[in-house]
Assembly symmetry: C2
């Protein structure tokens, strides 16, 4: 199957790397809104102008859209779904129903198939929530994020006067994790679940106390959390904080049996060196499923909830049963 | 939907309890090969003779078969699939392809739908293996079992001369777990992965040294493991070892990106107070999927690999996307 990569930032590059690990997948090209000649791909994929994308309508089986959820995907996914079967990693949770409806309309009208919100959350975490709740209906599900870099929070710190660079790590609190794992089904406030740790490079002579106070009191982003702020040098930032690790936990504990006296805990944990590269792995598997389902005549918008796991896998159904069941 | 429970041991009872937690499911009755009058159900489900099962052919939507994998399921699942859509928890891994083919033939010839091997391994662990390998193709998957009671190993110890009762716990070795979690992708021998701990009630005057030696040297079951044997009283056995806890881990670590320099770890962990009751939860969710897929015209044999997660869940697709995606 032939894929196109629409957008070539960290995520698009991750898709190019991941495609190489999948022998059934070939990258037809990367589509960029920048000047194609200015983009150099990691593994030599061809680069085309986004304006020329329709020329590849009959060549590309699935277009993987690698854009941001804030402004790119809400426009680009419905637009490209008119001419391509597509996959995206739309991750603004409250806006998923709206995005789904927009993409579904576009895909249905044009007989294409679109899969949205493939990644780790939404994505693998969502799958673990739905499986866990289906098999343990009487219980409670908790999602923790981190330890990892939150790009939105890092950006928010960077916008403060006197800040040259910043990296924010979201860290789940061990006490909360242990309470959840024990089956206590605690009521956890925002502050109980996660700690926020910021590494900040400040301009020479900046008022560090004021910067720290502005961070800690920032509504929505930090005010409801315990926040730790470290001021570091630009060199230390470059040396120790240049990667984009992330991860987290989905934990459900539930009760069964006589008087609900038996407790069960399901824990799913991701520890990722590179958030975009792991997301790329989910996008590639989702693209494989879209290709197969499209060939079976399915159209409209779907999510990973609608995909049988066998459709994500490279191997035959018979081998999968033999080796992995 | 109306379910039947065929077989009423620990697993059948677990299904009866779990059905109560699912408002869309009604238990039509329990079918037993014993004298129905001798069977008292936990929540009052009606008990019928297994011989009368065909009388309920048009009443029951899905039959959940709660039998052992050694001798029961290989016969009963293909037999019942002639007249019912069925679910079982067949768990003899090497014989899954053969069992699948037998059930598939029976189901196809009679236009029924059968789902086999629903439980936690095979079952939830299998799902985690297939998802993890699909999204991280370059990597290695490890499965650990325990801490939990292995019924087969407990039975093997009970067959030793002088043993009145025995319980065997399979325990994953922390050193192996940590090595796997670190992304080292170690080569692990049988002895490296699991420890076996036995609690034994011996007859008065029995030769304890001989019993211990017979356990530790038993081929296949214990000889390739580090095994610890404790002799305890019947009272202590009844007090501390009457439950059937189990659980385990599926861990995949994989590499991505430039020179495969980024490492990722996916860990799925189950901690179960009651092995049969958790398995029952998976069987119930699988029965829901079978009911829906049968109504869409599907026939033959399937596994959880062929089931889209949304088909396992009680809620509507729209709500699932809103709440769990």
């Amino acid at each position: 199957m032939k894929i196109g990569i629409y957008g070539y930032g960290n995520l698009g590059k991750g898709v190019e790397y991941c495609a190489q690990q999948n022998p059934d997948i070939e990258v037809t090209g990367v589509f960029t809104r920048r000047n194609p000649e200015s983009v150099k791909t990691a593994l030599g994929a061809k680069v085309y102008s986004a304006e020329d994308v329709l020329k590849y309508k009959d060549v590309i089986d699935v277009m993987i859209i690698c854009g941001g959820s804030a402004t790119d995907l809400p426009k680009i996914t419905p637009m490209l779904a008119k001419d391509f079967s597509v996959v995206d990693s739309f991750d603004t949770h409250p806006k998923i129903p709206e995005h789904f409806n927009n993409v579904d309309k576009s895909a249905r009208e044009n007989n294409t198939l679109a899969l949205i919100s493939a990644g780790w959350d939404p994505g693998m975490f969502s799958l673990n929530r739905i499986y866990a709740e289906s098999i343990l209906p009487y219980g409670k599900t908790y999602t923790f994020w981190g330890k990892g870099v939150s790009q939105g929070h890092s950006d928010a710190v960077r916008r403060i006067e006197g800040v040259l660079d910043a990296r924010q790590y979201t860290i789940p609190k061990e006490s909360a994790l242990n309470s959840v794992r024990s089956g206590e089904n605690p009521e956890l406030k925002t502050r109980d679940k996660h700690l926020r740790e910021c590494f900040v490079v400040a301009r020479d002579g900046a008022d560090l106390q004021s910067i720290e106070a502005q961070i800690k009191n920032m509504p929505d982003y930090f005010a409801n959390y315990d926040t730790v702020v470290h001021f570091i040098s630009a060199e230390e930032m470059a040396k120790n904080h240049s990667e984009l690790p992330h991860g987290g936990f989905v934990i459900r504990s539930g009760k069964t049996g006589e008087n609900n006296s038996h407790s069960h805990t399901i824990e799913y944990r991701l520890t990722l060196d590179s958030n975009p590269e792991f997301t790329a792995g989910v996008l590639i598997a989702a693209a494989r499923a879209v290709y197969r389902k499209k060939n079976r005549g399915e159209t409209g918008c779907i999510t990973l909830f609608d995909v049988a796991p066998a459709d994500l896998a490279l191997d035959t159904a018979e081998n999968l049963r033999k080796k992995l069941l």
